[in-house]
């Protein structure tokens, strides 16, 4: 357990549009840092943050659109968005 805690990582997370209601303390444009275990994926972050998985349509990791099962790394910025488009 102790060894695992040492390996704990920190990632920056943010949410957009209709997902904002699940993290009401975040101001528009705001983000927060959370601690995760090595090997964590965006799908895990969605659980940790309490976002409804079926409402998350887009995951952006360090400005690159990514998949739910991609493993995140220490210091990553991960953004979650619902279905969006328009123009």
């Amino acid at each position: 357990m102790g060894a695992r805690r040492l390996a704990e990582m920190q990632v920056e997370v943010t949410v957009f549009a209709t997902l904002r209601k699940y993290l009401p303390d975040l101001p528009v444009g705001g983000s927060k840092y959370i601690k995760v275990d090595p090997g964590a994926t965006p799908a895990d972050l969605i659980q940790i943050l309490g976002l409804p998985a079926d409402e998350v349509k887009i995951v952006i990791r360090n400005h690159v659109i990514t998949e739910l099962d991609e493993i995140v790394e220490d210091g990553d910025r991960i953004a979650f968005a619902p279905a969006i488009a328009g123009g």
Binding site: T18, A85, G86, G87
Partner: protein, 585 residues
């Protein structure tokens, strides 16, 4: 009842009605405007000269009862901004009323005597030509108000001072349900072409009109139900979904996050002030000011998506509708401006003067790069609109759009294709949209082939925005289906639910087939879209355009765009594939 075309000759102020000839009987919306432009306008004519025309057409299903979100009006002609064919469509009140008068198209041609200006009143009884002297020099807010005094609840189409001056960035305004301007056929300068016809405004009164015939009511009703359900079910278009809750500016934060938000005249892909001008920020302002502002506003009766908004001023009074993504970006991020209130004021200036917000913001950005003022100087940018209002030489330069402004200020980083400046997606970071910008018959235009759907939004599949592979085919598929949707009168935003929900797509096609009384499948839809593209492409070829015009600006090939540090890498051969079929099929 047979659909009619009204041909309005401004040289002698006569209007004649004709049945829609067989060759155009299958068209509506963009298909109709492009077919008429293709056949009747000499491709090499001067866009402001006597041989250009403005063609106005409602879509196939526009004006039918309860076809959801189908109030678009197409405006066509030869563009003074690009020199190409142009179709620019708008929401607002006009489409449904034109259709309910039994009209499939209005053709405006000829030129009145010098300095003669008219406004037209089109009713079930015909066309009246009215002296517009009292309207001249006025902006669209005042024009809409004045005309509603005599013609309440009508559709008002019109041009602001920019159209009177025949500036290449003059758009055509359509009033919204609150009788405010802001639903613009903005792109491509068709407001100047209307000005060249001596027309300041057109009132459309559909009282007592025959309405729109539906050939197969059962099929129409079945399709309407399926389409409505798809729109109401899809996360993006349903009530309180992304578009309804935040408007199109819901895109600001996400495109910025993906590194594809053009910033400070296309010198970076991210703007540090993006959140402050995002849809989320607009929604917060509306809520905090607790006045006449709103999100979830509909631009025309019968829209069930309602992506528009009314932005309130500091005291809660309505300031402008609508603050869209493209607008907030062009007047904001691309000018380095993060002050939403000033962006809203600039938007109101555009709506009043009759300017396309994309080209207006991009022209200011070019002037900033050229040293007229600093990037981020919001107050300075706002004041520039007085130059246009006062008809100064500076105002006339800015009102000519990005390319003219770049020449005046000695700027070589010019983000245009075929004379029209790029909208709010960086093609170096989102390659498919770059193919659309390069090859579209309209000049740089995101709406003509919105590959953003799979490249960013995960709608209609998922593709890596940063790779070139497959993007030529993708762009063509989107361009063809868009030409079909633009002909239908449906808002382009129905594309998102119908791309993801098959019954919605079938429903949309069924409504078109139901109104027109034809057999139509999904495959036919793409074929019809390609037919429209082919007419447009051939018009451009005859106007002198070649494949060498289907290119992005040079600087995008050698200037790396942060944060991805990428250049435009698509080969010319790949771009040339997009329209190769025009001479093969």
């Amino acid at each position: 009842m047979t659909r009619k075309i009204v041909r309005i000759n401004m040289s002698n102020q006569k209007a004649t009605y004709e049945d829609v000839p067989k060759k155009w009987a299958k068209w509506g919306g963009r298909g109709m405007t492009s077919a008429i432009v293709f056949e009747e306008i000499p491709p090499t004519c001067h866009p402001l000269g006597p041989n250009n025309k403005v063609v106005i057409a409602p879509g196939w299903v526009t004006g039918t009862p309860a076809a959801p979100s189908s109030g678009r009006t197409s405006f066509g002609g030869k563009s003074p901004l690009t020199g190409t064919i142009k179709e620019s469509n708008a929401g607002g009140l006009s489409g449904q009323k034109i259709a309910k008068l039994g009209l499939a198209a209005i053709i405006l041609e000829g030129t009145p005597a010098k300095d003669q200006w008219y406004y037209l009143v089109i009713t079930k009884d015909g066309v009246e030509f009215k002296d517009a002297s009292d309207l001249m020099g006025k902006g669209m807010y005042e024009i809409d108000e004045i005309l509603w005094k005599d013609y309440p609840k009508t559709a008002v189409i019109g041009i602001g001072q920019a159209g009177e001056m025949k500036l290449s960035n003059a758009g055509i305004s359509v009033n919204d349900p609150e009788n405010k301007p802001g639903r613009y056929a903005g792109r491509g300068g068709l407001g100047a072409v209307l000005g060249a016809r001596g027309i300041k405004a057109i009132v459309i009164d559909d009282a007592g009109g025959p309405g729109v015939d539906i050939a197969n009511k059962e099929l129409f009703e079945k399709g309407r139900k399926n389409l409505t359900e798809a729109i109401q079910e899809h996360a993006l278009t349903k009530k309180d979904g992304g578009l309804n809750a935040y408007g199109t500016d819901v895109l600001m934060n996400i495109v910025n996050e993906a590194g594809g938000l053009p910033t400070r005249n296309f010198s970076a892909g991210q703007f540090e002030g993006a959140a402050k001008i995002s849809g989320e920020a607009i929604a917060e302002v509306v809520e905090k000011r607790d006045g006449k502002g709103m999100t979830g506003h509909g631009c025309h009766p019968g829209c069930i998506i309602q992506c528009s908004n009314i932005y309130p001023d500091e005291s809660g009074e309505a300031l402008v509708s609508c603050l869209e993504y493209e607008t907030a970006w062009a007047l904001g991020a691309n000018c380095g401006i993060d002050n939403l209130d000033i962006i809203a004021r600039m938007t109101r200036e555009c709506n009043d003067l009759g300017l396309d917000t994309i080209e207006a913001g991009n022209s200011i950005a070019i002037a900033m790069e050229g040293g007229l003022l600093e990037f981020g100087d919001a107050e300075g940018a706002l004041k520039l609109f007085n130059e246009i209002r006062n008809k100064t030489p500076m105002g006339r330069i800015l009102g000519q759009g990005v390319e003219a402004t770049a020449k005046a200020f000695g700027v070589h980083r010019v983000p245009t294709v075929k004379g029209q400046s790029m909208p709010a997606y960086e093609p170096r970071a989102i390659k498919g949209i770059g193919v659309t910008y390069a090859t579209s018959t309209m000049g740089a235009d995101h709406t003509s082939g919105y590959t953003i759907a799979p490249e960013i939004a995960g709608v209609s599949g998922k593709l890596d925005p940063l790779t070139d592979e497959g993007k030529a085919d993708l762009s063509l598929a989107f361009q063809a289906s868009t030409a079909f949707i633009d002909s239908s009168g449906y808002c382009l935003f129905i594309a998102f639910p119908i791309l993801d929900i098959q019954t919605g797509f079938e429903g949309m096609v069924d409504t078109v087939a139901g109104v027109m009384g034809i057999d139509l499948t999904g495959d036919d839809a793409i074929a019809l879209g390609k037919e429209v593209l082919k007419m447009e492409r051939l018009f451009n070829e005859r106007a002198g355009f070649t494949k060498e015009d289907d290119r992005l600006p040079e600087f995008m090939r050698y200037e790396k765009l942060p944060p991805h540090d990428v250049v435009w890498s698509m080969t010319d051969e790949e771009l040339d594939k997009v329209f190769a079929w025009v001479h093969e099929d």
